[in-house]
């Protein structure tokens, strides 16, 4: 793109538009939202991993002080839901199939009263055989998590068989032939544990029915319109009769993509005929949220004497939990990460998702990124070590470069991988890989895509000459909407602070695919820029008429159109349009074009095309305490090809935060589950990194502009969480010789493993 041109607003480190409210405490979040007369809801959850519900008696609970409504699976007819397979129930009807599954809900005057009343609900269960291990669940003899799986509605792309709820394959060439020609073949199995998204604001919803078939929900979802349509499906009413508003959201990271508390709040509010608020407790967050799926990954790679990859066979087995959720998508996308950003002449990569009686899981930031990347990039280092090659050199010999064909048959363009690799290696001091005893350095490569999905933008010129931008996404904190506003301001010749952003109201803002998939700023900025151009055109027509000049001859500066010394300001244009009619408004939508791929290589793949791919390398320098097994990260470098930095400050913030989130998964975070029961359901024992656990994250922005992105930008939000587990694992191996194959890499595994 036109990187040479100097811009006024884009590319600048400007303060975010919603910043002042956030540092003064004025910002309102969903958890701050309240309505007069609002009740508080609590959920009764199953203590069993698999059981038949013999009897539920709510008589005593209904008589408890302050109780206004009790809802069970039998008391309200609610439809099943689910991303790809309709296997979720709002409240269990006949059976529970995981610990923590909602069985009943109570709305009461206070949270405490609701909680007390839950204890008065009598539920009799008859336990059924359960399965917790994905490999056992694949066995024909295993109990079926959903004996009725064939009758559950599913998307056409889903291929099911018993507990296996999806299967995706990518095939290139002939792997067997590749292995036969290989100098060495390596086979390993890697495992990863469930982790929580870690947002600091629990999921919360306030629901109010405004008519018998109309409701408004204030909540902290990342996806307004998916929430709207899913609620419509559950309650059997028209989507446009459900208004979803996000007053503010305290982090998402994928954990707030799918329904959180909205459906419970709605069901209880309908029963109570009063507004109801339901907020997840910390314990519920860590035992009953949608976690990043645990995975088992089998990986077999053949290389020639020089370390060129000749064949790669792999399988990622995703533990979807008791409801498939995003498991099929994660298993599918995982095949691309198993391939990695490498040239593969022969590959056979499979992704399957499997039902177990564990808690249902979901999509966390770069949903299938860290797990297969941990496997692939760990194995790269193991191969390098065995061949006596520098791991950096092994990667150089295999990485995708400009014009290469990726595993899905897509021709790669704007490939900044080698530059990321070189810069990260220099920054971390790769030449001294083992600077001292028990200290080592590791790196990992990765790639990701900019998800597609439509965004819309409405613009209106205000009477004071500023511009209001109305978009249907949620500002999750990434700065996406400040970035999009910078793009609009640039187009309009305005200052960033001239842009008023209105967002996240399903009734008044245009449809948007949502805050997910590293695409928010990318798509919203593209749509808004299109709308801005349209609006400018309309303004120019009016200005030309007012100034009696030729449209093409008008100059635009200082929020005014000029014809020689004569001018009309934007404010005057808006005022004129408002009084004379034909107000200055514009709209546009955007969806990224699909990248061309070779369809013959993929079967049942959810994301076979890899639009505006991004490339990234993480490198770390760490020490391992040989007495305690503790890891201390001395330095951490992120080099990411971001295409173009619309606002370098918030872009760095994405990479810094993502890297630390990934370090959490690498070293300390795991939902420990035994027989379907979470063992560490509190923030004392679920270990997110504190400020002391990480060093300053050093960020290197590499810019190989994307053709489709605004000013060449690529999606950036998810990728930084992908590489930390592998980079850390490789550095640990370099430091102390211990190769950990199962995340997280705890001190205990290092010492005793």
């Amino acid at each position: 793109m036109t990187a040479a041109k100097e811009f006024e607003v884009v590319g600048k480190r400007l303060n975010r538009l919603d910043g002042e409210g956030k540092v003064t405490g004025a910002a309102v979040y969903a958890s701050d939202f309240a309505l007069p007369g609002m009740l508080h809801g609590k959920i009764l959850r199953s203590p069993h991993a698999h059981a038949r519900i013999v009897r539920i008696d709510t008589t005593a609970a209904r008589k408890m002080p302050g109780v206004r409504a009790v809802v069970t699976g039998a008391s309200q007819k609610l439809n099943r839901f689910g991303n790809f397979i309709k296997d979720f129930e709002v409240f269990a009807s006949e059976r529970v199939y995981h610990v923590g599954q909602p069985v009943a809900g109570i709305a009461a005057d206070t949270e405490y009263a609701a909680k007390q009343a839950l204890r008065a609900i009598e539920v009799e269960y008859a336990e059924l055989p359960a399965v917790f291990d994905v490999m056992e669940a694949l066995d024909k003899a295993a109990p079926l998590v959903h004996p009725d799986w064939q009758s559950l509605k599913a998307a056409p792309i889903i291929v099911r068989e018993g507990n296996r709820c999806s299967r995706t394959v990518i095939k290139v060439g002939d792997v067997e032939e590749g292995f036969r020609n290989s100098y060495r073949v390596y086979e390993h199995v890697f495992r990863t544990s469930a982790v929580h998204a870690g947002y600091t604001e629990p999921r919360v919803a306030v629901a109010q029915w405004t008519a018998s078939d109309q409701a408004t929900i204030w909540c902290n979802t990342q996806l307004l319109f998916d929430t709207q349509s899913t609620l419509a499906e559950i309650f059997g009413i028209s989507p446009s009769h459900i208004r979803v508003i996000v007053p503010g959201i305290g982090g998402g990271f994928g954990g707030k993509l799918r329904l959180g508390m909205e459906h419970y709040a709605m069901a209880l509010a309908r029963a109570a005929k009063r507004p109801v608020r339901v907020m997840s407790s910390s314990e519920e967050e860590l035992t009953a949220a949608l976690f990043r799926q645990p995975t088992t990954i089998e990986l077999k790679t053949g290389v020639d004497r020089e370390g060129h990859i000749l064949a790669k066979q792999g399988r990622i087995v995703v533990d979807a939990g008791a409801c498939s959720g995003s498991g099929p998508l994660v298993a599918s996308t995982g095949t691309m990460i198993l391939a990695g950003p490498y040239r593969l002449p022969n590959a056979n990569l499979e992704g399957i998702s499997v039902y177990t009686n564990n808690h249902p899981n979901g999509s966390i930031r770069a949903p299938s990124g860290p797990m297969p990347n941990f496997a692939t990039e760990s194995q790269m280092d193991m191969i390098a070590e065995d061949l006596g090659l520098d791991p950096l050199e092994l990667r150089r010999r295999n990485i995708l470069r400009e014009g290469d064909i990726a595993v899905n048959g897509q021709k790669m363009t704007a490939v900044g991988l080698e530059e990321c690799l070189d810069k990260a290696a220099v920054a971390i001091g790769w030449d001294h890989r083992k600077p001292e005893h028990n200290r080592g350095k590791g790196l990992a490569c990765g790639w990701w895509m900019t998800s597609r999905g439509s965004s819309g933008s409405y613009l209106k010129l205000m009477q004071d000459g500023t511009l209001t931008m109305m978009v249907g996404v949620v500002e999750m904190g990434t700065g996406a909407l400040t970035g999009a506003a910078q793009v609009v301001a640039e187009e309009m010749g305005m200052k960033l602070t001239d842009i008023n952003v209105v967002s996240a109201d399903s009734l008044t803002t245009p449809y948007d695919f949502g805050s997910q998939g590293s695409r928010t700023m990318f798509a919203v900025a593209n749509a808004s820029r299109e709308a801005a151009r349209d609006l400018l055109g309309k303004m120019r027509v009016r200005a030309a008429k007012a100034l009696g000049a030729d449209e093409q001859a008008l100059a635009m500066r200082d929020k005014a159109f000029w014809s020689g010394e004569k001018k009309i300001t934007f404010a005057e244009l808006a005022a004129q349009a408002n009084t004379a009619g034909g107000g200055l408004i514009a709209e546009a939508t955007y969806i990224a074009p699909a990248a061309e791929h070779d369809a013959s290589r993929v079967q049942n793949h959810f994301s076979p095309s890899w639009p505006s791919p991004s490339f990234h390398v993480h490198a770390t320098d760490l020490s391992v305490d040989d007495v305690l097994g503790e890891v201390t990260i001395n330095r951490y470098v992120v080099a990411q090809d971001v295409g173009y930095a619309i606002n370098p400050t918030y872009l760095e913030g994405q990479l810094e935060g993502g890297a630390v989130q990934g370090v959490g998964q690498a070293l300390s975070e795991e939902i420990i589950i035994a027989n379907g029961h979470v063992q560490n359901g509190n923030l004392t024992d679920y270990k997110m990194p504190t400020a002391m656990d990480v060093p300053k994250i050093e960020v290197i922005l590499v810019t190989h502009p994307s053709v489709a992105g605004p000013y060449g930008a690529k999606g950036v939000g998810e990728p930084p969480t992908i590489q930390p587990p592998a980079a850390v694992a490789n550095a640990v191996a370099a430091a102390c010789g211990k190769r950990i194959m199962h995340l997280p890499i705890t001190a205990e595994k290092i010492l005793l493993g």
Binding site: A26, M279, E652, G657, T690
Partner: protein, 159 residues
């Protein structure tokens, strides 16, 4: 069964006489009785720090502090940190350094930093990290937060 307690509290310079339940926490009093929602609600177990406020100049987790134990205390929340229209140096630095993303931990983080800087007005980077360890942030990875606290410490020291 809960008991009721008369409570005198000074919050952000305003004096309050409140009647609170023995089971109520300072966070509940701030958010429900005084509708000051700057201090946030999350773990309610003293593990995340989003509820942090200053009590008599020291940072505390308001979510596990029984309100009745705060008799006569001076409380400062994020809403009371600014000096009139002028933002506190920490607020300005957090804003200018890009240390704010979703912002949910930020009131607690700023109050934690404010409490720590009273104890150690010229901290090193490592000391700042230790000073902030009781408040979790998932968005930022702490890099820009630490820079912001450093900058604020310098600004405050220069005055």
């Amino acid at each position: 069964m809960s008991t009721t307690h008369e409570l005198n509290l000074t919050v952000n310079g305003e004096e309050w006489q409140l009647s609170v339940k023995g089971t109520e926490t300072l966070l509940e009093v701030l958010r429900k009785h005084l509708t000051l929602t700057g201090a946030k609600s999350n773990c309610l177990e003293g593990e995340c720090g989003v509820c942090a406020v200053l009590m008599n100049g020291r940072v505390v987790n308001s979510c596990i502090l029984l309100a009745a134990q705060c008799e006569g205390a001076q409380i400062t929340t994020i809403e009371g940190l600014a000096n009139g229209e002028t933002m506190h140096a920490l607020q300005t630095a957090f804003l200018n350094r890009g240390a704010v993303q979703c912002g949910y931990c930020i009131p607690g983080m700023i109050m934690t930093a404010a409490g720590y800087l009273k104890e150690n007005p010229a901290p090193t980077e490592e000391e700042i990290r230790e000073g902030l360890c009781g408040t979790l942030c998932r968005c930022t990875g702490y890099t820009k937060i630490v820079e912001a606290v450093q900058e604020a410490a310098q600004t405050m020291g220069a005055k």
